[in-house]
């Protein structure tokens, strides 16, 4: 997690001194890493790209070249569009609900309240759980007549019980709740780390000048927390675009595709033996994520990353 290091300008490295080391030495030391990276990252990407131009069931020889047909098919495939829109809904909800919620909690737990160490641990605990455990546990809680519905019945709120994971209208929002439950603690910790690095003197000076706590938050905390929040949002966005495991364990993208994501859609295509089409879909997801990530890095993270070499 690199988030906090970018917040203090003093920590930035001086200009590179690599120039003094002979290039061959550099290359020699990089060779093992480059080989691994080439074999397990670059080569598979190139292969996927190649497969994406073929109609291929994974068994036959790779000889049915179809050009861009697989990409056209993805573009016009309503199920893929649905999956993409589900990713976008999760993304928007994450940015506007999950991260602000984590910010609020972080602010609360940064103040001197009783038992804050315990609360921090409690809130962070879900993040430590594996996705599979999270999915299985929440499936049990949200199943028809499961723990949640029984609880609602017990307090007389029978009218509020729902088929949380089986109702196509509802399932995506149930999933968003589970996702938030699992990851808000992580964002909270990032933001807490950012908060703890803010110089105390600024708030002291502000309160001496008679700033209200809102003004102090709005004009001191928030701007100084900017880099941290932008990283938190970045992780949230990338996570939303690549969402797979939690969804797969909890709903398999169902019912009737109502909670599918681009990644579960992709996996379904592999399971159908459509290796060419699935490769094309994977290239589309890769491209989308890359564009979003680069755009975000260039626009939102520009100032934060200055001097790190990540922004040209």
């Amino acid at each position: 997690m690199r988030a906090p290091t970018t917040t203090t300008p003093a920590a930035r490295q001086p200009a590179s001194r690599l120039g003094r080391v002979p290039k061959t030495t550099v290359l020699l030391f990089m060779l093992p890493a480059l080989t691994l990276y080439g074999v397990f990252v670059i080569y598979p990407i190139i292969q996927s790209l190649r497969y994406s131009f073929y109609d291929w069931n994974g068994l036959e020889p790779l000889d049915n070249f179809v050009g861009l047909d697989n990409f056209r098919r993805a573009w016009s495939d309503q199920l893929f569009r649905d999956a993409l829109s589900h990713n976008v809904i999760i993304l928007v909800l994450s940015v506007f609900l999950q991260v602000p919620f984590a910010l609020g909690l972080a602010l609360l737990l940064n103040s001197r309240i009783h038992g804050r160490a315990i609360l921090r641990t409690l809130f962070f605990a879900p993040y430590v759980l594996s996705e599979v455990v999270t999915g299985v546990v929440w499936r049990q809680i949200l199943r028809p007549d499961g723990l949640l519905d029984q609880g609602l019945d017990a307090v007389g709120a029978t009218g509020l019980t729902h088929e949380w994971l089986a109702d196509p209208e509802l399932v995506l929002y149930s999933l968003f709740f589970i996702i938030s439950w699992k990851y808000f603690g992580f964002h909270m910790v990032i933001i807490l780390a950012g908060l703890q690095q803010l110089p105390r003197e600024l708030h002291e000076a502000a309160s001496i000048d008679g700033a209200s706590s809102w003004q102090s938050f709005r004009y001191i905390t928030l701007p100084l927390l900017g880099p941290t929040l932008r990283v938190s949002l970045f992780l949230s966005i990338i996570g939303a675009l690549q969402l797979f495991d939690l969804v797969w364990v909890t709903t398999k993208g169902g019912p009737i595709g109502a909670s599918s994501t681009m990644a579960t859609f992709l996996y379904d295509q592999f399971r159908k033996g459509l290796f060419g089409y699935a490769s094309a879909v994977s290239i589309v997801i890769f491209g989308l994520s890359l564009v979003v990530a680069l755009f975000y890095q260039r626009v939102a993270l520009r100032r934060d990353l200055e001097g790190t070499g990540l922004v040209g």
Partner: protein
């Protein structure tokens, strides 16, 4: 949200993107280490074939992949392999056992790398045809001619492509309605329904008695496709089903009307709560609902009673807290199908392209009367008619009778066609159950995928 170091996440995505490829690389690595003796084995096989196919001097290894990962099937097959190896000391059978889904993924990887197991689980149909087209399985028509006739023809024909035999079945499957006799009695229904209209009437009667009529795991989709497909078979009969397969055209009256009949059933709201998200085999799924007496009927294959017993935590279906019954899928008035037309399939083993002749001999061994009796007594339904005496459970006997009397057996549609078309049938069945598509649109969507 998913949160790890972003570049790691990106790499992870790339890895997902290249899933098949990376897996393929790993797979071939595994095998190069374990198969170091393979070239020698192949050579030995060729020699022995040339000299004397029955010779027991040359060492031969058979790589056998099966999916009986639970007892009693697991031990039974180990025992059969041990017995065979004792009688044929030159043969070494290397068994790989996997869970169903894991097996499918691993097999795909091995097939892609051309490293085909000598014997592997198969369901025949479209999947086998793909493997035949890719040259990954072996024509065993001649090698199996001395025993294939001893097995049920309905089952062995599923392992033929263009008239040639590529595998041998060991287990017969047939779908029918499993029902809770106690709940039927409680609702005052004294005989199982014989026609579709009677079934709908019984559904209403059960509902009026406060009983959930039907359990279905529409979240897994294929349990929903059982209803859709069986209605097609009852409406169109063998002729329409064969025509659909020949033309790849599902936009025919039998399919559209089947969709309408599914709609009639769904309109009665006969299913357990949350059926759209439920799977087949889970505590909150179809089998769990039946096992806990939460629903009265379940359209499923002969493996259902075992699953109910597992979910209920009892030893065998006879110990379920209620009495289980079975009846064939009801007939549809005016439908062209016969009451004896059956929907099912047969598990079997396909023979890999490089398998030694001993592999086929081993298939002959496991489908002989004695071993099929063991199979029938412990695990499923025999494909060897001589072994039917070992089936003692009355429900299983009824299923077997249904199979033996079958005038036509339609293989599970999701296995009969290619994986892609099969998935589309399942997807459309789930949409019909959710009331999210029309019968005509569902039929047209399948036709579009099938390319008819």
């Amino acid at each position: 949200m998913k949160t790890t170091h972003p570049s790691l996440r990106r790499r992870a995505l790339v890895l997902v993107a290249a899933l098949g490829l990376v897996a393929a690389a790993c797979g071939s690595d595994d095998d190069s280490s374990s198969d170091s003796a393979a070239p020698a084995t192949d050579a030995a096989t060729e020699n022995s074939t040339a000299a004397d196919s029955g010779g027991d001097g040359e060492a031969v290894e058979i790589d056998w992949w099966h999916i009986q990962n639970n007892d009693p099937g697991l031990s039974d097959w180990q025992a059969m392999a041990d017995t065979y190896m004792e009688a044929n000391p030159n043969v070494k059978i290397k068994i790989t056992v996997m869970e169903n889904e894991a097996f499918k993924a691993a097999l795909q990887t091995n097939l892609q790398s051309g490293d085909v197991p000598d014997l592997f689980q198969s369901w025949g149909g479209g999947g086998l045809r793909d493997q035949v087209d890719a040259g990954l399985v072996q024509d065993i028509t001649d090698a199996s001619s001395d025993f294939v006739g001893d097995l049920s023809e309905g089952a062995t024909s599923l392992y033929q492509v263009d008239g040639k035999q590529y595998g041998i079945p060991y287990n017969a499957s047939m779908v029918g309605v499993w029902y809770n006799k106690d709940l039927f009695a409680q609702a005052g229904i004294d005989a199982p329904p014989e026609t579709w209209d009677e079934l709908l009437a019984d559904v209403q009667t059960l509902k009026d008695a406060g009983i959930t009529p039907i359990a279905v795991g529409a979240g897994d989709k294929w349990p929903a496709h059982f209803w859709y497909s069986y209605l097609m078979i009852r409406l169109g009969g063998a002729e329409a089903m064969n025509q659909i397969a020949a033309d790849n055209n599902f936009s025919v009256p039998a399919v559209v009307e089947a969709g309408e009949k599914v709609g009639d059933l769904v309109a009665l709201e006969p299913f357990q709560a949350g059926f759209l998200g439920a799977g087949w085999d889970a505590p909150d799924g179809e089998s769990g609902t039946m096992a806990s007496g939460g629903a009265a009927m379940d359209l499923m294959g002969q493996w259902a009673p075992g699953a109910f017993a597992t979910q209920a935590g009892v030893d065998g279906a006879a110990n379920l807290p209620f009495e289980l019954g079975w009846f064939p899928f009801p007939t549809v008035d005016g439908g062209a199908g016969q009451p004896t037309d059956a929907f099912g399939g047969a598990d079997g083993f396909a023979v890999g392209k490089d398998a030694p002749p001993e592999a086929v001999d081993f298939l002959k061994f496991i489908t002989n009367q004695e071993n099929q009796e063991t199979w029938a007594a412990d695990s499923g339904l025999p494909v060897n008619p001589q072994a039917v005496g070992a089936v003692t459970d009355p429900n299983m006997q009824a299923v077997l009778e249904g199979l033996n009397n079958a005038s036509f057996i339609q293989l599970f549609l999701d296995q009969f066609f290619t994986a892609e078309v099969g998935s589309q049938v399942n997807d459309q069945a789930a949409l019909l159950f959710a009331g999210q598509t029309s019968p005509q649109d569902a039929a047209d969507a399948i036709t579009a995928t099938a390319g008819g």
